[in-house]
Amino acid sequence: MISLLRRDLTLALRAGGGFGLGLAFFLIVVILVPFGVGPEATVLSRIAPGILWVAALLAALLSLDRIFALDFEDGTLPLLATSPLPLEGVALIKGIAHWIITGLPLTLAAPALGFLLNLETSAYVWLLASLALGTPALSMIGTFGAALTVGLRRGGLLMSLLVLPLYVPTLIFGAEAVRRGALGLDATTPLLMLAGITLFSFALLPFAASSALRVNLR
Amino acid sequence: MIPDLGIYAVEVTSAYVLSISLLITILVLSLLRARKIRAQLLKVEASRLLNNV
């Protein structure tokens, strides 16, 4: 399992694209928003939690179809399916690898972008915490979506349609935690819910993802 | 016979018209497709009998 994780990470780092692209996309979306809504600091700081979360979500979505597509094309995936490692474990590792490649850098970069949007100082802790707790769920849900559409030729667009509604609870609790943090309220409840969704996704979605993979490899 | 709908006449009538037309659309589409597919299946089965597959 560890070697599979290491292999995925080195592949992603060498290929270059996936690692930097998500971050760059995140940066660009956040920069574009002030052009759209105007430069007033009060407006920006009000909508900053939502923008940061939506941008992080879209950036995570961007690299989802690469989770299985490359392995599917070069035949690694059937090999993995017949290996002693259960397919559930493969799905889990893929989700974790995707999180390390996109979710972790997004979380670390988010505070820097918070400055651009004039985020309240009290919200930074909550921004970091909510992204750190919530982005794993995004990766795992995305892995499930990628597993569903892996056999399709033009699966990318369909996958966004399937995955985005599943992102709704994560987005709501994540953005709500940051918003409460910005208002100086207690944000523990949404954070707990967020952690619950993440744990729940990691506990159950590998099974759903692996059954979808099995169907697609048939 | 037309009841007095008061100031909301447009809203109420449009809600009824839109909803009923949606219902009729899905019903008609389903029936048309059912008829088309049934005819096609009959044709295919007939040709199967002819070719003795």
Binding site: F144, L148, T149, G151, L152, L158, L161, L162, L164, P165, L166, V168, P169, I172, F173, E176, R179, R180, P190, M193, I197, L204, L205, A208, S211, A212, V215, N216, R218 | M1, P3, D4, L5, G6, I7, Y8, A9, E11, V12, S14, A15, Y16, L18, S19, L22, L23, I26, L27, S30, L31, R33, A34, I37, R38, Q40, L41, V44, R48, N51, V53
Partner: protein, 242 residues
């Protein structure tokens, strides 16, 4: 004699075909009676005026929109456990009907909301959940359409339906939470209004609910038959080509 006998596609068709016209007739009769009664013969509400009449469309459609999804979930589970093809096809047949019901709910809700709340759309928990339900239906149908092999499509959509149901319920609670965080008590929940209404409004409403339910049922029957025939045609054509 067990219920699984109806899972035989041929038997399904022979048994349901004579039923279809009767159920369809009953559904239309119920709808005509209920809607005409509701539209022409019920009094106006003293607060809502004549817009109260929209309830005869809105509530039954909402009911069926949710029930359709439940039925799809059930059919998907049956398909995954017992591999009855009819079950998978029933789920497929129900989805477009469900999406139409959701659409009717959203449209009538917006039309009712405009004069009552002064806005076509409010990010109220109920409205938002229905919008999310609409998105789930869209994704589900799109996945069915995208996959060519029928068994693969049935398997994948079943998995999606199950995961989607879990997340739809999660969204429902998340949305409740999110809206309370923003602004409380903006709207009158429509359904509790439905429960508290007097008999004058209630009887035609029940007739409409029956009408919508029967219509949904007969539409699913018709569409399932069509799907079975499509499947059979495909099988014959494949055999003839080889």
């Amino acid at each position: 004699m067990s219920i699984w006998e109806y899972a035989n596609p041929k038997k399904f068709i022979t048994i349901t075909t004579p039923l279809v016209p009767w159920i369809l007739g009953l559904a239309i009769a119920c709808l005509v009676v209920g809607l005409v009664w509701g539209f022409f013969l019920t009094p106006d509400d003293f607060r809502q005026g004549s817009t109260v009449k929209i309830i005869y469309l809105h509530v039954p459609a909402a009911l069926m929109a949710i029930n359709a999804w439940f039925m799809m979930l059930l059919a998907s589970l049956i398909w995954l456990v017992r591999r009855h093809h009819v079950s998978a096809l029933v789920a497929r047949a129900a989805a477009p009907v469900g999406i139409v019901m959701t659409l009717i709910t959203l449209i009538t809700g917006a039309i009712w909301g405009q004069p009552m709340w002064g806005t076509w759309w409010a990010w109220d928990p109920r409205l938002t959940s229905f919008l999310i339900l609409f998105l789930f239906y869209l994704g589900y149908i799109a996945l069915w359409e995208a996959i060519e092999d029928p068994d693969t499509a049935a398997d994948l959509t079943s998995v999606l339906c199950i995961v989607g149901s879990v997340f739809a319920v999660l969204s429902r609670y998340a949305v409740n939470f999110w809206n309370q965080g923003l602004h409380q008590g903006t709207s009158v929940p429509v359904v509790t209004g439905g429960r508290t209404i007097s008999d004058v409004f209630f009887v035609p409403l029940v007739i409409c609910m029956m009408g919508f339910g029967l219509l949904f049922f007969v539409l699913v029957l018709i569409r399932t038959q069509t799907e079975i025939r499509v499947r059979r045609m495909r099988a014959i054509q494949l055999r003839m080509r080889s």
